[in-house]
């Protein structure tokens, strides 16, 4: 194998992130507790540097390096840019909350960046082993982050559940991959795809492999019937970690599904399509109906995540370029909405008060009209009400499903969205028409207020002008597949 230094250019963002991570690890050890701001700023600068490097390396032709294990294509570039943004927003939102609860430590930032690195590896993987290792890097960082608040028994329980179920899911995924490897004789996604087109490998072991891979994938996405960990982890984890789990990893999960199912196993589309239909219908049904019964906002948003993942799967199972780009648009939009939703919980919480019950939102309009308005935008978007961007995300996915001649599925999806609209609108009612239970002023730093305002208004702005982002997704998918 020949090796050129220039091979490393496409992976400069990853190399830069890892180098900065090592630097932050060392710098943080030298800092006193009062100087933690340096770690925070360094982390944000690292993400900005990665964004600059990725932006400079934007290209339309896929480039494969390091024995074809790493791919740099348009889809990976766009998703990575969205990823940096999501992680940076999460860091801005969480600083105040962490300071008040004694979690403002270097480890939080280091683990966040490690998770980001894992997601970048997943997004750019073109080999079963790199896909799996990226996923493990992400998952391990997340397990530790959920347990970071060691004195909370709920957080420890959530971390334990997450760890055990995550390990089972990884095992399933590996088992599936090994079956595909056994049948096709290759771990490289492109080689697997070629081998499948040539009809190498028997049908039954291949389908078994696909079953295990889809099950592992569904675990990681949190799709029904592999969703049991989602509500407990979302509720138990410290809110900034919940915010993190629910936003950026969904982008990586989308890339993961596309790489595995489309780039590797597209020939078996008819097999995995039926499995995804089942997962998606069940996710939308159970997610939306169970969310109605929740009184805890974090738990409710967890069930809402499950239903949104059902929608995300709709685009992938449509099996067309339009479907994939619609799904990509959905994942970016969902990350944005989720950041805003959990960001609002962080904004309203203060020393010794979590603001995670639905009743805590009562009369928010009287306390802070601007916060109530932002929350209204986010909820409308999650419910899919125009003119917010959530409407276009749902619409484009549904269009792809109709194009794939699955009209019944589109009807089912719309019906469950209508059911889902109830619990989003119930919060709007609580905020605007109920008397506030408390009158404590909202304490939050100005950078957090600013970021949350931009986040909320972006939902509206993208809803009025969804074209550019949709085009970017369509072009990225077209150039990559």
């Amino acid at each position: 194998m020949n090796f050129n230094m220039t091979d490393l250019i496409p992976m400069l963002p990853e190399i830069f992130l890892l180098a900065m991570l090592s630097l932050i690890l060392i710098v943080d050890v030298m800092l006193k507790d009062g100087q933690r701001f340096v770690t925070y700023v360094l982390s944000l600068l690292t993400l900005a540097g990665c964004a600059w490097l990725t932006f400079r390396g934007l290209n339309t032709e896929p480039v494969y390096v390091l024995s074809s294990m790493f791919v740099d294509d348009a889809m990976s570039d766009v998703l990575k840019l969205a990823l940096y943004l999501a992680v940076a927003i999460m860091l801005v939102y969480s600083r105040g909350y962490l300071q008040l609860r004694g979690l403002y430590k270097g480890e939080f930032y280091v683990l966040t960046l490690f998770a980001a690195l894992g997601m970048m590896v997943m997004i750019s993987a073109s080999h079963f082993i790199t896909l799996y290792l990226g996923l493990e890097l992400l998952s391990l960082s997340l397990y530790a982050m959920v347990a970071l608040n060691r004195d909370s028994p709920v957080a420890t329980e959530a971390a334990m559940k997450y760890f055990v179920l995550g390990a089972i899911a990884s095992g399933m995924l590996l088992y599936g991959m090994s079956m595909i490897y056994g049948s096709t004789g290759s771990l490289l996604l492109s080689d697997v795809s070629v081998a499948l087109q040539e009809g190498i490998g028997q049908k039954i072991p291949l389908v078994f492999g696909v079953v295990f891979i889809v099950a592992g994938l569904a675990f990681k996405l949190g799709a029904v019937p592999f969703h049991m960990w989602v509500p407990d982890v979302y509720q138990g984890a410290p809110t900034p970690v919940t915010l993190f789990i629910s936003s950026a990893p969904k982008l990586a999960a989308f890339a993961f599904s596309i790489r595995l199912l489309v780039q590797g196993l597209e020939v078996l589309h008819t097999d995995w399509r039926d499995m995804l239909i089942l997962l998606s219908v069940l996710s939308m049904a159970i997610g939306n109906i169970t969310a109605i019964a929740q009184t805890n906002l974090k738990r409710m948003l967890a069930y809402s995540t499950i239903s949104h993942m059902g929608f995300l799967l709709l685009g992938i199972l449509a099996g067309s370029q339009n479907g994939y780009s619609a799904s990509m648009f959905y994942s970016v939009v969902y990350a944005l909405m989720s950041l805003g939703g959990f960001g609002m919980i962080l904004l309203l919480s203060r020393q010794g008060f979590e603001s995670e019950e639905l009743d805590d939102l009562k009369g928010l309009n009287a306390r802070s009209p601007w916060a109530a308005f932002l929350m209204l935008l986010l909820l409308f978007s999650m419910a899919g009400i125009p003119p917010t961007v959530g409407f276009y995300a749902k619409l484009s996915v549904l269009q792809a499903v109709v194009e794939a001649d699955l009209i019944w599925l589109a009807v089912v999806a719309v019906l469950f969205s209508l059911i889902g609209a109830f619990y989003y609108l119930r919060i709007v009612k609580l905020m605007y028409f109920d008397e506030p239970l408390q009158n404590a002023p909202i304490e939050a730093s100005s950078d957090m207020r600013m970021a949350l305002s931009v986040n909320g208004l972006a939902i509206l702005a993208l809803g009025i002008l969804p074209g550019p982002l949709m085009n970017i997704c369509a072009i990225a998918i077209q150039a990559s597949l």
């Binding site: 294990m69 480890e107 490690f114 590896v121 391990l140 960082s141 347990a147 039954i204």
Partner: protein
Amino acid sequence: MPNTGDEMTFTQFVFYFFSAILLFAGLRVITARNPVHAALYLVLAFFTAAGLWMTLEAEFLAITLVLVYVGAVMVLFLFVVMMLDINLDKLREGFWDYLPLALPVAILLMLEMAVVLGGRFFGLDKAATPAAHPAGYSNTKELGRLLYTQYVYPFEIAAVILLVAIVAAIALTMRKRKDTKYLDPARQIAVKRRDRVRLVKMPAEKRMETGSQKAGEPQP
């Protein structure tokens, strides 16, 4: 290895020899009543499996298995088993209650595995026997070459994962607990005589009378 007639080649003999010991050891791991015995049988199972790998010409993996699993993991495991006070009767409680359900489940699992893994899909005829390597072939060298050239990227990611494991383990376990007693060497060295010893001048006292001499009181 071509089988000539009824006689067994030496490799086959080694294979069946190790397999028999492996099966026996594996069975004893789950049937031994004493957890220490079970752990020791597991050591035997690992060691025999390493022998089997040796016949596959995978000597590096075989040695790693012995070094890592037998040498490190199992010894640690033994320590834990010896330190914990496991109540075996409690573990065995309900064995007969669960058996009626557990037995059909186990049989069903076996049948399913037999169907999937049976000769139809994963039989010997489906995969060619790997060719024997020429003399002087070094499995270790080949693995090293692959690991640091073709697979250098996954190798580096694995290194990062280990770093995460270190950071996470320290973040989750290192803390200053109020009830921990720990020594501060710097303060120990800096200690002065006057911090520890106080010289008190007292007038000499006369010996007490017999009335106050009770049992348990220190004698002068």
